[in-house]
Symmetry: C2
Subunit: 337 residues, 2 copies
C-alpha cells in the first residue's frame, strides 16, 4: 500500500506532516510518497535520520495553493501545485490513496478535476467523524458542496452510510437529516424537499429529522446536511470544546488551592476526555464520491493526526469504499427516487 | 411594569413557569399576568400560598398550541390559545412585555399576526445570547426565519447590534457574518450576497466573516445568520456541552478513587462553569422586529430561567428597544443598501 501525502499548505508547515508520515510507515508498514518542496522535505528527512528509508520517497512540486486562493481557478492554473501533483499520482495509480492537510477547497477541486466523480455520484461530499457519548457520528457533508440540491443530500446519506458501515464498523447505520425540528413539516426549503426523498431511499436506514443537540448524543450514526451547515457545525464543536476548557481553567483558578489540587487529581481523566474528543484521533475526513481514496485533514493537523489519517486512508483503500459507493449509488430508480 | 406570561405548552407544565413568575414579582417588583388554564393556575398559586398576591393576576385561555402543530395555521384557528391570548394583552397595552416558553414557531406566528412588524422591518429575528470565554455573544437569527434573503440578514445585523448595545451594554458591538471561511469569496449564495451589503451598512460595526469556532471565542459580539443555521448552532452548543459533561463523568469514574476525590474538590468550580454556560442564566431570547417586547424561552425552561426572562423582558421594555429598532432601520438608503 502506497499513500501520497501532500506536505504543503498547512498551518504548521511540512515538518509535522512528514513526522506523521514517518510514524505511519513504522506503524502500518506502508510506503509514503511525500509531495511538495523537495529541498524542504529532504532537509527534514535528513534531520530525522530517515533520508535513506526506502519506504519514503519524494515527488517534487514547486508550488502550493494557499487557503485564501480561489480553489477551482488555482487548481486549473497551478499544475505544479503539491495537491495537483499528488492527485495525479493517485489518478495514474502510482499511489493507492491520498492524504492532504492543505486548503480543503483546493483538495476538493483537485479531486474533482484530477480524479472525477464516481459514475452516478452528482457531487462529492466530505464525511467527518465526530465523537458522541457512546462512539462516533459522521457528519456528511461538512464542506464540499454548499447550496446542495435535495438529491445531493440523498447521495450524502448513501455515501455516509457506507462510510459508517465499512470504516466505522456500524451495522445498519441510523441516518438522520439535520433539521430544526423532529417533525416532517419543519425546516427550510432544502430540508422539506429532502425528507420525502430520504424516506424512499431503500439503501439507507432513515430515522427522520435530527436536531443539533442529537449529534453528540449517540442516537444517530450519520447526520446528513448541506456543506455550509456541516462546516459550521464542525467548527462550532471545535470552538466550544476549547472555550469550555478555558472557562473550566478559569473557574478552577478562582476556586483556590483545593480546587487546584482537585484539578491535579483529575488531570489524567481530563487528558482521557481530551483524547476522546480530539479530532486528531480520528485521522481526518473522507472525501466521498470521487474515484479514489482521498483524505482531507484539518489545516492545523499535527504528526499524530497525519499518522492516523494515513491509517484511515489504508482502510479506505483496502475496504474498497469507492467501488461500494459506485455499486450502491447505481441501484436504479432508488437513489434518484 | 406588567408582564404577560404564557404558562402553557412547555416541557415541564405550567408549575415551573408560575414559580418563576412568583420569583420575578418578588425580585423585580413587577406585576405578572399568568395566561393559561385558569383551573391549573389557581391550584398552583393556592399551593404556593400566592393566591391573594395582587401583583399576580390570571387571564384564562382554554387552549394551547403544541410543539408539533403548524404554527401559522394554529395561531389563526385557535384564537383561545394561551399564546394568542397573551399576545392580545400585549397588543392592547394591557401588558408591557410578554414571556413564552411554548412552541417557538407558534410564538413567532402569534407575534407576527397579533403585533405586526415594526415599520421597515421585513422579518422578525430571534436573538439568542450565548456565553463566550469573556462574556456574551448574540446569535441572530436563531430560528424565526429560514431561507432568509440577504436583506433580512442585514436587518438581523442591525437589530442584533441594538440588542447587544442596549441589553448587553456592549459599546460598538462587533458584527460578524457566520460563514465557512474568513475570506469574502467564501460561502453559499446567501452569504456571498450578504457580505457586500453588510460592508455598506453604516449602522453597524461589521468585522467580516466569522466561523463556527469564533462564536465562543469572545472575538465577535453579534453573529448574523439564517434562522435554519442559527437554530442548529444553538442546539449543537447545548448538546455538546451536555455530552462533554457525560464524557467527563465517565473518564473520572474510570480514574478510580483519586480522580473521584479530585472531582469532589472541583465540584464548586464545575458548578460555577455550569452556571456560566447555563442558558437559564440568560433568560431567554428576544424576538426582534415586532412591535412590542416579546421574549421566547426554551421549552424546557425551569423557574430560574423564567424569572431571568422576565427580568430581560422588563429591560427590553424599559430601554425601549422597539423604538430604537424602528428609528435605526428607518435610516434611509442605508439598511436597504
Amino acid at each position: 500500500m502506497r499513500i501520497a501525502v501532500d506536505v504543503m499548505g498547512t498551518d504548521y508547515g511540512p515538518r509535522e506532516i512528514i513526522l506523521g508520515s514517518i510514524d505511519a510507515v513504522k506503524e502500518y508498514g506502508c510506503s509514503v510518497v511525500l509531495v511538495g518542496d523537495e529541498h524542504q522535505i529532504n532537509e527534514i528527512l535528513l534531520n530525522c535520520g530517515e533520508y535513506n528509508n526506502e519506504k519514503i520517497t519524494i515527488v517534487h512540486a514547486g508550488n502550493v495553493i494557499e487557503m485564501n486562493e480561489h480553489p477551482a481557478i488555482s487548481v486549473k492554473t497551478k499544475q505544479d501545485a503539491s495537491i495537483v501533483v499528488a492527485t495525479k499520482l493517485l489518478h495514474t495509480k502510482k499511489c493507492d490513496a491520498l492524504v492532504s492537510a492543505g486548503s480543503t477547497g483546493a483538495a476538493v477541486a483537485a479531486a474533482l478535476f484530477g480524479l472525477g466523480r464516481i459514475k452516478g455520484v452528482e457531487r462529492p461530499a466530505i464525511a467527518t467523524p465526530i465523537p458522541n457519548v457512546t462512539g462516533t457520528t459522521v457528519v456528511v457533508d461538512s464542506g464540499a458542496k454548499v447550496d446542495a440540491k435535495p438529491n445531493h443530500l440523498v447521495q450524502n446519506a448513501i455515501m455516509g452510510s457506507i462510510y459508517a458501515e465499512l470504516i466505522l464498523n456500524i451495522e445498519e447505520p441510523r441516518v438522520g437529516l439535520l433539521n430544526i425540528g423532529e417533525e416532517e413539516i419543519k425546516g427550510n426549503e432544502q430540508a422539506l424537499a429532502t425528507y420525502p426523498l430520504l424516506k424512499n431511499t431503500e439503501q439507507i436506514h432513515f430515522i427522520g429529522n435530527v436536531e443539533g443537540r442529537d449529534i453528540n448524543k449517540g442516537t444517530v450514526d450519520v447526520v446528513v446536511c448541506d456543506g455550509f451547515v456541516g462546516n459550521i457545525v464542525l467548527k462550532v464543536e471545535e470552538g466550544l470544546a476549547q472555550a469550555l476548557m478555558t472557562l473550566l481553567r478559569g473557574t478552577i483558578s478562582e476556586g483556590g488551592i483545593l480546587a487546584k489540587l482537585g484539578a491535579l487529581l483529575i488531570k489524567r481523566s481530563l487528558k482521557r476526555l481530551k483524547k476522546k474528543i480530539d479530532p486528531a484521533e480520528y485521522g481526518g475526513a473522507l472525501l466521498l464520491g470521487v474515484k479514489a481514496p482521498f483524505i482531507i485533514c484539518h489545516g492545523s493537523s499535527k504528526a499524530k493526526s497525519i499518522k492516523n489519517a494515513i491509517g484511515v486512508a489504508i482502510d479506505f483503500a483496502k475496504k474498497d469504499v469507492v467501488t461500494k459507493i459506485g455499486d450502491t449509488v447505481a441501484v436504479k430508480g432508488k437513489c434518484n427516487n
